[in-house]
């Protein structure tokens, strides 16, 4: 089918086939629409319910643990939509504008006209630079999880997990269950922070108890748990050899050959930015995020946000937000939609939101680490820029806004466009200029949102979503 007829058909476009995108697709299909779903991955599921690349004998239970049922349900429900939607896996939506998207799929770029856009782009790990974080053998927590889920391999034979956030314990536990040797879990927060979880009990007892059980199993499995660690250094020359930290004024050091590191997650907001959505500061995530109402509507008509891409709330919230945003899309188009279902979803989302407040208190972001970032520590790995060079640029040019800092220091100019270094650069800039984190702004997004080959050809005819 050619481009002309597609534009007439006005297909909604969903970006991301994780929990949010899948539930959004399901709701739109149920209402009789035929959305186009694009996702970079070869299979649906998103980060959390990522599927193995090849069948390798592992069961869902092996892969997803207590969440196996949810994972299976999502994979199954998405498969059941086959024939009633269009699904482009391994497709990178690299540019977006005025109802048209540029999508790299099967080696060429296609232009797709859409009507209605659900961004369910998810999140990646948030990090602050520490000495040695760029050594081979250091992975983000999410990266470590992907290696395990999709490739069935571990990031080392003696692994330390470091950071903050629920993912820290989850990934450590998954590795232990998979038979890997987990040497220690280093939590940046003091043990006392975990008492906050008790406030979460009335909200989601099962989740809190599951977390406690995982922690207990880690201990039983011989994994050392350390709280309130700081001044962390990953040591090694060619690759990771050890990790050293300070705790209660004492120096500690542990040999290891793999490190999983992450300080909770950060939202993937590039497409929302390209779509023209307005952003506002979100205290819980310490980030400027695209604004959305309780239903997922953004400041741009016809553009909806669902899941971690608009603020970190986790997989269960993502499923609900995906469905909710689809109902909003239906409503905004004047199509029948289930208002009471929408209300239920919003109530659920509000409750999960309150629970995220609890988690944030139990797994606080160690913002104070920024004081200790050494001048010699790499801040931007794509452009190979050290913290000292960034500090010098801040002083020399007198900048206090993140895009200006990018201009004069190159941070965020490389292949990842600041997705990795942006959070750390913002913290450093805020600290150096004595400002609140929200005052330094955010890196504006530019297409292509991820690298594309220079020889990428435009598909001969703007092709239809078929």
């Amino acid at each position: 089918m050619n481009g002309q007829s597609t534009s007439e058909r006005q297909q909604p476009l969903i970006v991301g086939a994780g929990p949010a995108g899948i539930r959004a697709a399901q709701a739109l299909v149920k209402a009789g629409l035929r959305p186009l779903v694009v996702d970079e991955s070869p299979a649906c599921g998103g980060q959390i319910y990522r599927q193995r690349l090849v069948p390798d004998g592992r069961s869902s239970r092996d892969l997803y643990g207590s969440e196996a049922q949810k994972a299976e349900a999502l994979h199954r429900d998405f498969a059941a939509l086959d024939g009633r939607l269009d699904y482009w896996p391994q497709a990178l939506l690299w540019n977006l504008r005025d109802g048209r998207a540029d999508i790299m799929v099967e080696g060429t770029s296609r232009q797709v006209a859409y009507d209605g856009l659900v961004l369910a782009t998810g999140a990646t790990d948030r990090i602050l630079p520490i000495p040695g974080w760029t050594l081979p053998g250091v992975f983000t927590l999410g990266g470590a999880q992907i290696a395990l889920k999709s490739q069935g391999c571990a990031i080392g034979s003696r692994i330390v997990f470091l950071g903050s956030g629920p993912l820290l314990y989850l990934v450590a536990w998954q590795y232990m269950k998979a038979g890997a040797k987990v040497a220690a879990v280093l939590d940046t927060a003091p043990f006392s922070a975990k008492f906050n979880l008790l406030r979460g009990l009335p909200l989601f007892p099962s989740i809190v108890l599951r977390g406690m059980r995982m922690t207990a199993e880690l201990k039983l499995g011989g994994v050392a748990l350390h709280y309130g660690v700081g001044d962390v250094r990953i040591e090694g020359t060619e690759k990771v050899g050890a990790i050293a930290w300070r705790q209660d004024g004492l120096e500690h050091r542990l040999a290891c050959d793999g490190v999983g590191y992450g300080l909770a997650l950060r939202s993937e907001t590039q497409l929302a930015d390209l779509a023209g959505c307005s952003f506002a500061f979100n205290q819980r995530d310490r980030a400027l995020l695209p604004e959305r109402d309780a239903a997922g509507r953004t400041s741009v008509a016809g553009v909806y946000l669902a899941g971690d891409g608009a603020g970190i709330t986790g997989a269960d919230a993502a499923e609900r937000a995906g469905e909710r945003s689809a109902l909003a899309l239906l409503q905004d188009r004047g199509l029948p939609h289930d208002a009471s279902r929408a209300a239920t979803l919003e109530a659920d989302l509000a409750r999960i939101g309150r629970f995220r407040d609890v988690l944030e208190a139990a797994f606080p972001f160690p913002a104070h680490w920024v004081r200790d970032i050494a001048d010699t520590t790499t801040l931007c790995r794509c452009e190979e820029i050290k913290a000292g060079e960034v500090r010098a640029a801040i002083g020399q040019f007198g900048v206090h806004e993140l895009n200006r800092l990018k201009a004069v220091s190159r941070i965020g100019m490389g292949r990842c466009q600041g997705r990795i270094c942006g959070a750390g650069a913002a913290e450093l800039l805020a600290h150096e200029t004595n400002r609140n984190i929200e005052a330094v702004g955010r890196l504006r997004s530019q297409a292509p949102i991820k690298p594309v080959p220079l020889t990428l050809a435009l598909a001969a005819q703007p092709e239809a979503a078929e």
Binding site: W94, N95, R97, R100, D102, S109, Q111, L274, G276, E383, Q396, F397, G398, V399, E401, N403, R404, A407, V408, R410, M413, G414, R415, Q417, Q446, A447, P448, P451, V452, P453, L454, T455, L456, A457, L458
Partner: protein
């Protein structure tokens, strides 16, 4: 909080033109305020392609361009950084005989101007620039031209001006200018009242309404050149590349990234902002990969664009106002103001100090639009992309 400030010269617009003028004026001992609606160097001057080239300019720009040419190698002394300025040479390629003939004509026309252009045939090109692929019949080489990092140069000029004692007021849009007796009164955001003996209108693509408010409408439109940058590569190209006709321009920066331009971006809903078109960027990328075999496996990592003021005759407006003593204009550089700006700054400073300059700038007089100003909206193409003039915003 209201604030009053009294200076010799108030400069509207902290692009490279405004900030280099500020630095030069400060050097002459004037008190100067440099105002920008955003951050200095964040518009055209800081986001351009970075070509520092005299070759290809209209002949009337060359004396001024030569003057700027003398400033570039002195950046380190002037602003404390070299701005990654590289005198690499600028090679302008011809795809066919007609293009080559145009290059030859240009070289002959400007022979007296000291650019030392060298015409190179197909074989010479093969020998000296073997990294250029097929489909090029010849070129014209300007050894003294080069390229620099606009982000550093423009921000560096403003930072140096601040260090030299210029009152740099960022995030301070000028909302109106009036002539008040023998002085100007500027209304700026943040309740700032500024009085000055001189005003320089170097507000780039936004300069039109200021000129108009003094009875000097100009056919200033906007262009949005579109850029692509690759991941860092091993050294591929040694010179700054230009092309005649519908070509591309390309340079490789110190760090290894190759910057390629050649298409126009489109404005967003807010015409101050623009974004490269996907097809346009792909076309630039494909053309670059075809022309430079060394780039065939490169990845494009980022696109950008910027807002630049453009004049129908491709020459800027530089010089004193015809209606208002003490007012100087300098805008409309039409995609080629980066190289020339440091020279323009010096010229503006001389105009303030001496009321004249030895550098010929008559061709850039705002007076040249007297006749056409009446039909600005109809035929010049200026109306469409121009910032809507908001009544009451600029008070004549």
């Amino acid at each position: 909080m209201s604030r009053r400030l009294e200076v010799d010269v108030a400069i509207i617009g902290g692009g490279l033109v405004g900030s280099s003028a500020a630095l030069a004026l400060r050097g002459m001992g004037f008190s100067v305020a440099l105002l920008d609606k955003g951050f200095c160097g964040a518009q055209a001057s800081g986001v351009n392609y970075g070509g520092v080239r005299r070759q290809g300019r209209p002949i009337e720009q060359l004396p001024l361009s030569q003057r700027a040419h003398a400033v570039w190698p002195r950046l380190k002394a002037l602003i404390g950084i070299d701005g990654e300025f590289l005198r690499s040479g600028h090679l302008k390629l011809a795809r066919n005989e007609a293009d080559m003939a145009a290059l030859e004509t240009y070289a002959a026309t400007i022979a007296e101007q000291g650019l030392d252009l060298e015409l190179i045939g197909h074989n010479g090109l093969r020998e000296r620039f073997g990294w250029i692929g097929d489909g090029v019949v010849g070129a014209s080489f300007c050894p003294g031209d080069g390229h620099a990092n606009p982000r550093l140069v423009s921000t560096g000029f403003a930072a140096a001006a601040r260090r030299a004692g210029v009152e740099v007021l960022e995030n301070t849009p000028v909302e109106g200018v009036t002539r008040d007796g023998d002085r100007f009164a500027l209304d700026a955001a943040g309740n700032l009242t500024l009085r000055s003996r001189f005003v320089i209108n170097s507000a780039g693509a936004w300069a039109g309404p200021f000129a108009e408010s003094f009875g000097e409408p100009v056919p200033l439109s906007r262009i949005y050149p579109s850029m692509v940058v690759t991941e860092p590569m091993a050294p591929v190209m040694s010179v700054n590349i230009g092309m005649t006709g519908r070509g591309i321009y390309a340079r490789q920066v110190e760090r290894g990234n190759v910057v390629v331009g050649g298409e126009r971006a489109l404005p967003l809903g807010d015409v101050d902002l623009s974004r490269p078109r996907g097809e346009g960027a792909l076309s630039i990328m494909n053309r670059a990969a075809a022309l430079f075999p060394g780039l065939r496996h490169a990845q494009a990592i980022r696109f950008w664009s910027g807002t630049e003021g453009a004049m129908p005759d491709e020459n800027p407006v530089i010089g004193p106002s015809r209606t208002t003593p003490g007012l100087l204009h300098a805008f409309g550089f039409t995609g080629a103001g980066f190289q020339i700006a440091p020279g323009v700054g010096e010229v503006l400073a001389e105009l303030v100090r001496d009321g004249e300059t030895e550098t010929p700038i008559e061709a850039f007089s705002i007076g040249r639009f007297k006749e056409i100003s009446a039909r600005t909206d109809a035929g010049s193409g200026a109306g469409q992309n121009q910032e809507p003039h908001q009544p009451g915003e600029i008070r004549p």
